[in-house]
Amino acid sequence: MRDDILTVTGLQAGYGGKPMISDVTFSLGRGEIFCIVGESGCGKSTLLKALLGTTPGLRITSGSIRLEDTELTQLPDAERRELCTEKMGMVFQNPGSSFNPIRSYKKQFIETLKSHGRYDKDAFPHQVEEAFGKLGLNDVKRIINSCPYEMSGGMNQRIAMAIMLILGQDILLADEPTSALDATIQKQMAEELRHLRDVSGISMIIVTHNLALAEYLGDRIAVIYSGHIAELGDASEVLNRPVHPYTKSLIDAIPTLDGRMPTGLPGSPPMTGPEEKGCEFCPRCPAVCDGCDALTYSMRDIGDGHYVSCPYAKGGTA
């Protein structure tokens, strides 16, 4: 039986009364790496922000987010924020901008720990050493006294994760953590994230538009389009045997070393969020048929925890 740390059911959230994500249902196992993929503007980052609950103006309008035994949507805002930041940490696309570039990491670490009421002067050096060790960072003294502007993007990304480990947060939320990095560093960072999970048992939700990275890094994956999950399941299963036409088109758009020109998808995704009726992918779908514009969104199980929203898509084991 799965030990889930986070369970999201029928989540709808948006800005100014307009939902940007809807009917989002998934769970995150303890120690699991869950990847959310899709194009820009499809709602991946909104989903992450809705889970963390610290973005002003972003309101949850229906559904449930259960963090261990606590229903987050029932909590008053301040209490929810406190619990979320206690349990979850966020790593951003541009790690340099999540730090003050000209203030030493040491000062910024102490500041963060104090704001969580967790600063212990005597324990601090050991906590830093232990966290840096888990991330494979040597030369602790030099790094902790450096400023972010002196470090590379990859190094800043690792140090942003160190503070999470010191705070003992259980879930790492990462928004495009590798897209600002070189190709060589991207693979290395993916390996380090997996290693971090293995040594610390931390659970991760990684938002990325890089499907190959999601396959390399993730245990499970959700492909999201216009605020709805289009396909969900085991990462290798979904990406090696995609069922939804959107997932297939996204995979065909990835450039590969064989020199084949990627076919890509025509047009761009709608930026208007999910619709109440009709599949949002219709106008771009290579397999569109008569009933598509009258569909009501739902996910169907096609076997082995593989779910797909398109009722006409064929595949799976069910």
Binding site: S40, A183, T184, L211, Y216, P242, L250, A253, M261
Partner: protein, 254 residues
């Protein structure tokens, strides 16, 4: 004769007592109608080389020849319009408080004279965008749309060479595929050449005829794209190739 050629190009940046050798004795050639890829990590010197070629910076040593004639440090209008640069940050490459139409007009006026007017309808048709979008500000367009307009602006002055600096790095996978196909089609149909800088060898392999691998300011390997990717000779090239993440697609199903 090569359309463009660089010989023994070196560039050093100094700050206080420290200095960085960004380019060390770099040479390259670009034939008519050819797309040359330059790959390497951050700090390898690929974007620095592009800036010397475009005339945004002047090399400390070496020469750059266009049609066999050396380019002077102070470029003429004709020389500038022969080579057009497209940047990674497409939104940031446009004036934030001018419409796209106005920015493209400014480029054409600067390089072709006040009397020249860009044919926005035709340019939009080339890059596959609705001309109505040209009346928007860059912030009101997606990254992919802005990058297409950046390509339209470059094509507006009818250059011979496109200089593309990580033009797809900030785009998602579908916009990336659209932009790659667009650049490839434009070069083929208008018989233009391009230098395509990227840190992603898979991206380069889709549109480049030849590839040059750079590491720490030097060229470590150069050859036909397929030869370099299938049979890399240099250890660093092998490392770059092994860092490319690809989906292990099951062709029998799906």
């Amino acid at each position: 004769m090569n359309l463009l050629e660089g010989n023994h190009i070196s560039k050093t940046y100094s700050r206080g007592d420290s200095s960085v050798n960004a380019l060390i004795d770099v040479g390259f050639t670009l034939a008519d109608g050819e797309i040359l890829g330059i790959v390497g990590e951050s700090g390898s010197g690929k974007s620095t080389l592009l800036r010397q070629i475009s005339g945004l910076e002047v090399p400390d040593e070496g020469e750059i020849l266009l049609n066999g004639r050396p380019l002077s440090p102070k470029r003429t209008r004709e020389e500038y319009s022969t080579m057009q640069m497209i940047f990674q940050d497409a939104v940031g490459s446009f004036h934030p408080r001018r419409t796209i139409r106005s920015s493209i007009r400014e480029t054409v006026h600067n390089l072709r004279g006040r009397s020249a007017e860009p044919d926005l309808e035709s340019l939009c048709a080339i890059v596959g965008l609705d001309p109505v979008l040209a009346d928007r500000y860059p912030r009101n367009l997606s990254g992919g749309q802005c990058q297409r307009f950046a390509i339209a602006r470059a094509v507006a002055v009818d250059p011979k060479i496109l200089l593309c600096d990580e033009v797809t790095s900030a785009l998602d996978v579908s916009s990336q595929a659209q932009v790659l196909k667009l650049i490839s089609d434009i070069c083929r149909e208008r018989h233009m050449s391009a230098i395509f800088v990227s840190h992603d060898l898979a991206v380069v392999s889709t549109i480049c005829d030849r590839v040059m691998v750079m590491y720490h300011g030097r060229v470590v390997e150069e050859g036909k794209a397929r030869d370099v990717i299938d049979h890399p000779q240099d250890e660093y090239s092998r490392r770059l190739i092994s860092s490319v993440l690809e989906i292990k697609k099951d062709e029998s199903k799906g």
